[in-house]
């Protein structure tokens, strides 16, 4: 070993067998960070990118200038969406383990990111998600059955069997198609926002990326174009500390916060407690108002923790400390909002249990409906002819020929095919 190396190798604070250690996370007390005017210039509010905006204190009180003063009914809706996201995730994880779907990605511990942010935006705002933003689909009202049919690649799959599970889209819900390649959506969102400005419309675009994929050039292209054209866009880095097995230090998080990439490009950067529903909502609303009023783009770093595996294909026990998420200093987003609502007299354990039971039943009944449209092992199957459609708007002669070959190969006449004209 070279004891005197000048090469710094970022090291996870805790690997298997070690005690979890989150002392590296820079925290600010709840309520301690000032809330600048929405028209503040990026250069005058650089400290926001290093502090941590928090509204909920350890006892569940909402404090300080970022308190969004949301109606309790809205908070209850937020709680419902987060809980539904978690229960949906939990059931789909089990379905994958049971061999009913091929792959799944949970958002356990990060539910406030998608739910609070989406609730702070308008329906006409265009969302460019990553693959751990299922809360956006839930808030925008996409039926669980539709999401499940996509996971099953069944006869009602919105992607017609072309995408891995969780790569949803909804045109009427204004949520762009999830790529599966990392970070590509970030600069696309900026282009969408530029077009909104060119057309004189007041919608904004929002996009999400993990801290790990902020290492990609696309992240930097997004910040550059957002800065140059002052595009009405909200760029969100979900810092859940892990990129599969790789600690956020390898994305450059040790030396400087991810939010601080913003001021480097002349963009407002703000760091927020990603497990604090109220803080996430308030910061997103602030950024949205900036975008809508022409004050420019905002880079938000949502500090959270990936409590689950990256996906169903990896086992975190092989690369990080056991149950480390239980020691995460910012807690759990659902428990914290629940605690706040109970403290306000707007919620109770009994109501929480009842809601949990209701949503579990919804997930179960939705799965039954979805499975009726086909599963991997039984029921109706997608027509393989679909693989040749939508490569181009009109099918070229070359693909018509290949489709005929495929039909011959699979012994399929094709005469009954729905898209046959």
């Amino acid at each position: 070993m070279n004891k005197h190396s000048r090469l710094h190798l970022p090291r996870s604070p805790a690997r298997p067998g070690e005690a979890p250690d989150f002392s590296y996370v820079q925290l600010s007390p709840a309520g301690a960070v000032a809330r600048p005017d929405v028209n503040a210039r990026a250069r005058d509010i650089g400290s926001l990118s290093l502090d941590l905006v928090r509204v909920l204190d350890d006892d569940g009180n909402a404090v300080g200038p970022w308190h969004p003063h949301l109606d309790p009914a809205e908070l209850q809706i937020g709680l419902r969406h987060m809980l539904l996201t978690r229960l949906f995730d939990d059931r789909m994880q089990r379905n994958q383990r049971a061999g009913k779907i091929s792959f799944y990605i949970r958002s356990l511990g990060e539910e406030a990111v998608s739910v609070a942010q989406c609730m702070a935006l308008r329906p006409g705002d265009m969302l460019f998600p990553s693959y751990r933003n299922q809360g956006l689909q839930i808030v925008r009202g996409i039926a669980l059955v539709d999401l499940m049919c996509q996971l099953l690649s069944n006869t009602r799959d919105m992607c017609k069997g072309r995408q891995l599970p969780v790569m949803y889209h909804t045109k009427p819900g204004n949520i762009f198609s999830i790529s599966g390649n990392l970070a590509t959506q970030f600069p696309q969102a900026v282009g969408w926002a530029m077009a909104a400005a060119i057309k004189g419309e007041d919608h904004l675009a929002a996009s999400w990326i993990g801290e790990g994929s902020s290492a990609e050039a696309d992240f930097h292209h997004a910040l550059l174009f957002a800065s140059v054209y002052q595009a009405p866009v909200i760029l969100n880095v979900v810092n859940n500390q892990w990129a599969i097995s790789t600690f956020q230090g390898y994305a450059g998080g040790e030396q400087r916060s991810f939010a601080a990439r913003g001021p480097g490009y002349g963009i407002a950067g703000i760091r927020v407690d990603g497990n604090d529903f109220l803080a996430v909502h308030a910061v997103t609303q602030w950024a949205a108002e900036r975008a809508r009023t022409g004050a420019g783009p905002t880079l938000i770093e949502l500090v959270t923790y990936r409590a689950a595996a990256h996906s169903t294909s990896d086992d975190p026990a092989r690369y990080r400390a056991k149950d480390d998420h239980k020691h995460w200093p910012l807690g759990d987003p659902i428990l914290r909002l629940k605690q706040h609502l109970i403290r306000q007299g707007e919620w109770s354990e009994a109501r929480h249990q009842a809601l949990t039971a209701e949503l579990e039943a919804l997930v179960v009944s939705s799965w039954k409906q979805a499975a009726a449209f086909g599963t991997m092992s039984e029921g109706p199957k997608l027509d393989a002819d679909l693989m040749f459609e939508d490569v181009f708007k009109d099918m070229p002669a070359s693909l018509l020929k290949q489709r005929a070959l495929m039909r011959a190969e699979t012994g399929k006449s094709g005469a009954s095919s729905a898209e046959e004209t």
Partner: protein, 338 residues
């Protein structure tokens, strides 16, 4: 009709489309105020404003990505990549995103982006300003690939591409911007005004994709080519007094297989010529199709003319370039009696 070189014809196409369709926007490095390093967008920002003709940062990946986002929001962006040699930073956004958005979203979203980019050599550009990477893009499912060989086609094809709801990479052989080039650099430059395809309709017209042009009708041999090599091959065959049928593909994806195969069935001989490197080049695809479709009509093995499989060298440009000598050797080989 007016005399136009290829730059003027491309400029006219973009001018017309900016005027006809408010969703058309142009974007690229140096294209706005300055009008582009090859002047293809000259005067268009002044005419249509800075919101329609945008100068961009030097970030090809960002340009393509932003164009994709714009297209999802209802615009029809025409992005210029200053040299095809610079397109690689945008490669992922083209291949993994642009090409597949319609497919992966089952038609819910589509991205009508046209990427214009000057390609090819013969201009002393060395290895970073001379490449012909069209074959890299023809290998990607979901993007159309176009390369005109003259001003008339350049304008009509570009209009068609801008109006197309699928993404297109539109290669412009830059050696042809100012005049047809027969592959002999020692001859004085010939302007487009001397060529019938330099006569260009000043108004709106389309040249369809997927329809090759028979640049010269002939009976002895079929030369399948595109871009600069259309002119080189025509000159080489003329010098040999060969009655060659010269097929200018114009669009590589979609490909006009019928025109190629009808011609080869008629002549029984085939040479495929392109400027791009040989190994795994687009010519190999043409060869394969002709072999599959026309094997029993062939009188001789198909010949292939291409750039050497080296980077494009600065000092050895004319030893590298597939000029008339290389075409002539291929024509001689294919005409040899069995």
């Amino acid at each position: 009709m007016a005399n136009m070189n290829m730059i003027q014809a491309l400029n006219s196409a973009m001018d017309i489309m900016l005027g006809r369709d408010p969703s058309v926007v142009l974007m690229g490095e140096d294209i706005g105020y300055f009008g582009g390093v090859f002047r293809a967008t000259e005067g268009l920002q002044r005419k249509y404003g800075e919101h329609r003709v945008l100068d961009t940062p030097i970030a090809e990946g960002g340009i393509i990505a932003a164009a994709i986002g714009m297209s999802i929001n209802g615009l029809r962006p025409v992005a210029e990549i200053q040299f095809a040699d610079y397109i690689y930073p945008g490669f992922d956004q083209i291949c993994s995103e642009l090409a597949r958005i319609r497919y992966r979203s089952a038609g819910a979203f589509f991205a009508p982006v046209t990427i214009r980019t000057p390609c090819g050599g013969g201009i002393r550009g060395g290895q970073t300003h001379s490449q012909s990477p069209e074959g890299i893009f023809t290998h990607v499912s979901g993007i159309k690939v176009v390369m005109p060989s003259n001003p008339y086609d350049a304008k009509g094809l570009l209009i068609t591409c801008i109006e197309d709801d699928d993404p297109v990479v539109f290669f412009e052989p830059k050696r042809l911007y100012n005049g047809p080039f027969d592959g002999d650099p020692s001859k004085p430059a010939v302007p487009w005004s001397t060529h019938p395809k330099g006569q260009v309709d000043e108004g709106y017209y389309r040249v369809p994709l997927g329809k090759a042009d028979i640049a010269r009708v002939g009976a002895d041999v079929t030369v399948v080519t595109y871009g600069t090599m259309v002119h080189v091959a025509t000159a080489a065959a003329a010098a040999m007094n060969l009655d060659a049928e010269i097929i200018d593909l114009r669009s590589l994806v979609p490909l006009d297989v019928d025109t190629i195969c009808s011609s080869v069935r008629k002549t029984g001989r085939c040479v495929v010529a392109h400027e791009a490197t040989r190994f795994s080049g687009f010519g190999a695809e043409i060869l394969s199709i002709v072999q599959e479709e026309c094997f029993w009509d062939l009188e001789a093995p198909i010949q292939r003319v291409a750039g050497w499989d080296t980077p494009y060298p600065h000092a050895f440009e004319w030893e590298y370039f597939p000029g008339q000598a290389r075409v002539t050797m291929a024509l001689e080989a294919v005409m040899e009696p069995a």
